[in-house]
C-alpha cells in the first residue's frame, strides 16, 4: 500500500493552477515596484513607484524565486537546473514565503501607521497577487501523505481557553487596592499566553492534517557533466550569493526587515531543498572541498569591503568571536559528548590573560606582550584552566559533569569579581574589569587605525574582523583535521559508548581531558582577540545566561541549534543566535519570549540541528529511513550470566 500521493490540496485543474501560480508570482514580483503606502513613516520608504525599498525587496525576491521554480516545472530550458527533483512542493514553499513576507509587511504597515487605510493600491496589488500565487501553488500536484490523522492536544490544555476570560473579568472586577489584584493580573496574562499557545499549536496541527505534505524520493536525472572549472565557478557563484544574503541580514536596519528576511531565508532555503538544488550544490562542494572552504573564507573576507561604516563590521566581528568559541565548544560537546555548561569561562580566561599582558594602564602586571605572545599566553592560560577543571570533574558522567561545569563557570566569574584588592589580591580590578586595553599592533600594522585597501577604507572593526577570520580559519582547520583522525574517532567512540571505547584500548579519562583542554585553548584564543576588540574585560561578560551572547547557554544553544559535530553548523547557529536577539530589539519586553519561541520551533522542526551531521540525521529520523534491521532487545533472549 502506498502512503504517499501526488495531488493538489485545493482541487484546481493542474494547468490552471500552474498558470495562476506563474502569473501570480510575476505580479507579486512586479508589485514590489509599486508604492505600497503614502508616507515614508514606515521604515524602508515604500512610497516610491518604480524602485523597491526595504521589505519590497523581499517580496521581489520571493516572487522571482516562485516564478523561476514554476517555469522550471514547465521544463523551460535554461531554468530546469533549478529544480532537479521536479517536485512542486518547492514552489509552494517559495509562494508561502512570498505571501507571508508580503502580508506581514502590509499588516505591519496597518499596525504601525494605524489602519489599513494607509495602504496605497500598490500594496493591495501585492497582497492579492501573493495570495493568488499561494492558492495557485496549493492547486499544484504536491507530494502528500494519502492520509494524516489529526493530532489533538490533551483536552485539559483547552481549559485555558474559557478560563482566561474569567480571570480577566476577575482581574478587572477586583478593586486594584486589594492585595489579590496583581496576582489576578499576572494569572490573567499567563492564561492569555497559555490559551494563545494552545490555540496556535492546535491550529498548526489542523493545518498539517489539511496539507499532509511530505517528500517523495524520486530518481533525479544525473547532473550535467561539467568541466571542473565550471563547477568551481558555480561554487564561487553560490558563495557570492550566500555572502550577499548574509550581508543583507547583518545590514538590516530595522526589526521588520530582519523578521521578513528570516522568513524568506527559511522558506527560500526550504524551497530549494525540496527542488533538489541544495543537494546538487552539496554534491559539488563535497567534490571540491578545498575550493569550497577557500570560497567560503574568501566570501567571508569580502564582507568588510561591502561595508561603508564600522556599524555592522563590529556586529560581524562579534559574531565571528561567538562562532569561533561555539566551534571550540563543539569539540567538547559535539565530538566527545561532554556537556559543558561553563564554557564561556575559558573565553574569559583567554580575554583576562590577554588583557593582563596587553600593557593596559589598568593592568596590575605592567607588561606589554607582542600579539603572538599574548595569543600564546591566552591559549595556554585557558588550557591550564581547562585541565584544572577537567581533571577532577571528568570522572563524572552526563548530568553530573554538566552541573559541575556550570558551577566552575560561575566560580570563574565570582573569582574575577573578588580579585579586586579588597576581598582578595588585586589582579583584575574586580567588577570594574580591566579597561583601556590598547589596540593590537601586529608587525607594525595598527589594527586601531583605518587603512585603505583597494580604495576602500577598512576601519578598526574591519581590521579586527579580518584578524578574527584568521583565528576562525585556524579553529576550523584544527576541528576538521582532529575530528577526522585517530583522536577524533576516539572522542566519538567515547560519546557513543565509553565502556566499549575503553575496551578498545582508549584511555577515556585522558582523551576527555584532551578534548577539554583543546576546546578550552581554542576558546582562549578567541578570548585574546575579544579583549582587544571590546577594549575592556569585565567579569559580567562571562555569565551563564544573559539576554545577549556570548554566554554559556547561548554557546551551547548555538552548537545544538546549528548541528552537533559539524563545522558549518555552529558557525551558522552562532550567527543566527547573535543576530536574532539583536535584531528583535524592537520587540523590547517580548524579545526574549519571541526568541524562546523561535528556539522551540526550530528544535521541534529540526532536532538534529540546522546543518545535520550525517550521523545525527540518521539518529533523529530513523523512522523515515526505509529497510532498517535495527537490533531488537528480544534478540538477546539467550543473554545470561
Amino acid at each position: 500500500m502506498t502512503t504517499t500521493e501526488t495531488t493538489p490540496v485545493i482541487p484546481l485543474p493542474a494547468g490552471t493552477a500552474r498558470i495562476l501560480t506563474a502569473v501570480g508570482a510575476t505580479a507579486t514580483a512586479a508589485s514590489a515596484f509599486l508604492a505600497w503606502t503614502w508616507t515614508s513613516d514606515f521604515p524602508g520608504d515604500l512610497t516610491v513607484t518604480g524602485y523597491p525599498g526595504g521589505l519590497q525587496w523581499l517580496t521581489l525576491v520571493a516572487g522571482a524565486l516562485t516564478l523561476v521554480l514554476t517555469l522550471a516545472s514547465y521544463g523551460l530550458r535554461g531554468l530546469r537546473w533549478t529544480s532537479p527533483t521536479r517536485s512542486d512542493n518547492g514552489i509552494l514553499l517559495a509562494a508561502t514565503g512570498g505571501a507571508v513576507v508580503t502580508w506581514g509587511t502590509l499588516i505591519a504597515i496597518g499596525v504601525e501607521l494605524g489602519g489599513m487605510a494607509n495602504l496605497e493600491p500598490g500594496g493591495w496589488v501585492a497582497g492579492v497577487a501573493s495570495a493568488l500565487t499561494l492558492i495557485g501553488a496549493l492547486g499544484l500536484p504536491l507530494d502528500r501523505h494519502t492520509r494524516r490523522p489529526l493530532q489533538v492536544l490533551n483536552k485539559w490544555w483547552f481549559t485555558a481557553v474559557p478560563v482566561t476570560p474569567l480571570l480577566y473579568l476577575a482581574a478587572t472586577g477586583v478593586d486594584s487596592s486589594r492585595p489579590v489584584a496583581p496576582v489576578l493580573v499576572v494569572l490573567a496574562q499567563g492564561g492569555l499566553a497559555a490559551a494563545g499557545g494552545v490555540v496556535l499549536v492546535q491550529a498548526l496541527m489542523l493545518l498539517r492534517t489539511w496539507l499532509r505534505l511530505t517528500t517523495i524520493e524520486r530518481r533525479t536525472a544525473p547532473p550535467l557533466e561539467l568541466p571542473s572549472w565550471v563547477e568551481v565557478l558555480l561554487i564561487i557563484a553560490a558563495f557570492s550569493v550566500g555572502l550577499f544574503a548574509i550581508t543583507f541580514g547583518i545590514d538590516t536596519e530595522y526589526g521588520e526587515l530582519f523578521t521578513g528576511y528570516l522568513v524568506l531565508a527559511g522558506t527560500g532555503v526550504a524551497a530549494l531543498t525540496k527542488s533538489g538544488l541544495i543537494a546538487r550544490l552539496r554534491a559539488l562542494t563535497v567534490k571540491h572541498r578545498p575550493v569550497t572552504t577557500g570560497a567560503a573564507f574568501a566570501a567571508a573576507a569580502g564582507f568588510p569591503f561591502t561595508q561603508s561604516s564600522d556599524q555592522y563590521t563590529s556586529v560581524a566581528t562579534n559574531i565571528l568571536i561567538f562562532a569561533t568559541v561555539a566551534l571550540g565548544l563543539n569539540i567538547v560537546v559535539g565530538l566527545a559528548g561532554l556537556l559543558d555548561l561553563g564554557y564561556v569561562a575559558f573565553l574569559g580566561v583567554g580575554a583576562y590573560a590577554a588583557a593582563l599582558v596587553s600593557g593596559s594602564p589598568a593592568s596590575p602586571i605592567h607588561v606589554a606582550f607582542p600579539f603572538w605572545g599574548a595569543v600564546l599566553t591566552g591559549a595556554a592560560a585557558s588550557m591550564i584552566f581547562g585541565v584544572l577543571i577537567g581533571a577532577p570533574t571528568l570522572r563524572l558522567r552526563g548530568d553530573y559533569l554538566a552541573i559541575v561545569t556550570l558551577g566552575f563557570g560561575e566560580i570563574f566569574r565570582i573569582t574575577m569579581n573578588n580579585l579586586n584588592g579588597t576581598t582578595g589580591p588585586n589582579l583584575t580590578n574586580g567588577s570594574n574589569g580591566i579597561p583601556r586595553i590598547p589596540d593590537l599592533n601586529i608587525f607594525g600594522f595598527d589594527l586601531g587605525k583605518t587603512h585603505t585597501v583597494f580604495g576602500i577604507d577598512l576601519g578598526r572593526f574591519s581590521n579586527y574582523y579580518l584578524l578574527m577570520l584568521i583565528v576562525t580559519a585556524f579553529v576550523v582547520l584544527v576541528f576538521s583535521r582532529v575530528g577526522d583522525s585517530r583522536i577524533g574517532r576516539a572522542w566519538v567512540a567515547i560519546r557513543e559508548d565509553e565502556t566499549a571505547a575503553q575496551a578498545m584500548g582508549i584511555n577515556g579519562f585522558r582523551l576527555k581531558l584532551l578534548a577539554f583542554a583543546l576546546g578550552a585553548s581554542l576558546a582562549g584564543l578567541a578570548g585574546t582577540v575579544q579583549a582587544h576588540v571590546s577594549y575592556t574585560v569585565t567579569p559580567d561578560q562571562y555569565t551563564f545566561a544573559e539576554a545577549l551572547p556570548p554566554n554559556s547557554a547561548f554557546l551551547l544553544a548555538a552548537v545544538i541549534l546549528g548541528g552537533m559535530g559539524t563545522i558549518s553548523g555552529p558557525l551558522l547557529g552562532a550567527t543566527l543566535l547573535f543576530l536574532i536577539p539583536k535584531k528583535l530589539e524592537f520587540l523590547s519586553n517580548y524579545q526574549l519570549l519571541a526568541f524562546g519561541i523561535a528556539l522551540i520551533v526550530l528544535m521541534r522542526v529540526r532536532p538534529e540541528g540546522l546543518i545535520a551531521n550525517r550521523r545525527r540525521q540518521l539518529e533523529f529520523h530513523e523512522a523515515d529511513i526505509p529497510a532498517q534491521a535495527a537490533p531488537s532487545d528480544t534478540a538477546l533472549t539467550k543473554a545470561g550470566a
Partner: protein, 323 residues
C-alpha cells in the same frame, strides 16, 4: 557440521593465567577462587547456568572490574586493572549485549579498534605530516582487511546501527581483532543468532584461531561450545566445578546437576528454565560421531524426563534453587 571438529591443536605456552580470582560485591561472592589457563592456539569454552558469574569473571580478566583477590597474567605479566591497558597488553573482547559505536560507520568502528596499536597524537593530526598519512593509510588498509575477513567489506560505509544483527556481531569481532590481540574473549557470540548464523560464527572463530589468536568463549549453545572448544570450564555459583574436554564435562555429575537440578524425592524436576539447557546438553552429541551414542548424558536426559512425569502427578514444589 561444516568445519572439522578435530582441528590441529598446536597448544603452547599459556597466554592467560588467572589464579585464585575472587570477586565480591559486598556480601555476594560472584566469582570464587577461579583458576583458568588459556594456552596459545587454544579455544577454551566457559559455560555455566545464568548468574554463574561468567561475565563477571570476564570483566575481571579485562580490567572492567578489579578482582577482590587473585591475579590475572597475560603472557607472564600481571595485567593492570584498567580496561584500556588490558587491551594495550593484548586482550580484546566482545560484549554480551552488542556494544558497537552505533552512529559511526562500520569502517570507523574497526578504526577505533586500532586505537591502541597506533599513536598519532593531536599535533600530528593537525599537521598531517607524511608519517601521519602513512599511519592512517596503513590503519585503513588493515581495517579493510579485517572487514574482508569478517565478510563486511562491502558495508564499510554503512552506519553500524543499520547492520543486521548477525553482522553486528561479526563487526564487534572484527573491531576486537583490530587491536591485534593475542587472546580474544567472546561473550556469547551467538546469542540471538539463528542456526545458519551460528555455523558462520563457528567458522569465523576457527578462522581467528588459525590466525594464531587464542580464544576464550562464553556460550550457552552447547553444540557450539562442544564443536569449537579444545577445553571447557564450567562455572557454577562463582566456582569452577570442572574443566576438561567434551567427554569430561558431559559426564560430570555436578555439571548435570547444575544444569538439570539434583533429583529430590517427590518434587518436580527440570523446571522450564532448565529445559532448554538440558536439551542443549543432550542434543550436542547427537550430531557427533558414533561414540556419542554411548555418551552418559544421553542417559541423564532420559532419567529426569521419566521422573518429571511421575512428579507432575504428585506435587510441584519448585526446586529452581537447586541449580
Amino acid at each position: 557440521m561444516t568445519t572439522s571438529t578435530a582441528p590441529v591443536t598446536t597448544t603452547g605456552d599459556p597466554v592467560l593465567e588467572a589464579t585464585g580470582v575472587i570477586m565480591r560485591f559486598g556480601g555476594l561472592t560472584a566469582v570464587n577462587n577461579v583458576d583458568l589457563t588459556v594456552n596459545s592456539g587454544e579455544i577454551v569454552g566457559l559455560i555455566g547456568p545464568n548468574g554463574a558469574g561468567k561475565t563477571t569473571f570476564f570483566n575481571c580478566l579485562t580490567g572492567l572490574y578489579v578482582p577482590t583477590e587473585g591475579t590475572v597474567k597475560y603472557k607472564g605479566t600481571v595485567l593492570p586493572p584498567k580496561p584500556h591497558l588490558v587491551t594495550q597488553a593484548g586482550i580484546a573482547r566482545t560484549f554480551q549485549n552488542i556494544r558497537l559505536f552505533a552512529n559511526m560507520t562500520v569502517l570507523e568502528n574497526v578504526l577505533v579498534g586500532r586505537h591502541s596499536r597506533t599513536k598519532e597524537g593531536l599535533l600530528s593530526a593537525v599537521l598531517r605530516g607524511p608519517k601521519y598519512k602513512r599511519a592512517e593509510a596503513e590503519s585503513r588498509e588493515k581495517a579493510m582487511g579485517l572487514l574482508e575477513f569478517a565478510g563486511l567489506a562491502d558495508k564499510a560505509d554503512h552506519l553500524a546501527r543499520n547492520l543486521p544483527y548477525g553482522e553486528q556481531r561479526k563487526l564487534e569481532i572484527a573491531r576486537a581483532l583490530a587491536s591485534e590481540p593475542g587472546l580474544l574473549l567472546l561473550d556469547e557470540p551467538t546469542a540471538g543468532m539463528n542456526p545458519q548464523e551460528t555455523r558462520a560464527a563457528e567458522e569465523l572463530v576457527f578462522a581467528i584461531r588459525d590466525r594464531g589468536i587464542a580464544i576464550l568463549v562464553i556460550e550457552h549453545d552447547m553444540r557450539f561450545i562442544f564443536n569449537l572448544c579444545d577445553r571447557t570450564a564450567v562455572l557454577v555459583q562463582g566456582q569452577k566445578i570442572v574443566e576438561g574436554d567434551r567427554e569430561t564435562v558431559q559426564s560430570d555429575e555436578r555439571v548435570i546437576t547444575a544444569y538439570l537440578g539434583a533429583p529430590l524425592e517427590g518434587t518436580a524436576e527440570a523446571p522450564a528454565a532448565a529445559d532448554a539447557d538440558a536439551d542443549a546438553i543432550a542434543d550436542a552429541p547427537a550430531d557427533l560421531p558414533a561414540e556419542a551414542a554411548a555418551d552418559p548424558v544421553e542417559e541423564a536426559d532420559a532419567e529426569p524426563a521419566a521422573e518429571a512425569s511421575t512428579a507432575s502427578a504428585t506435587s510441584t514444589t519448585g526446586t529452581e534453587d537447586e541449580k
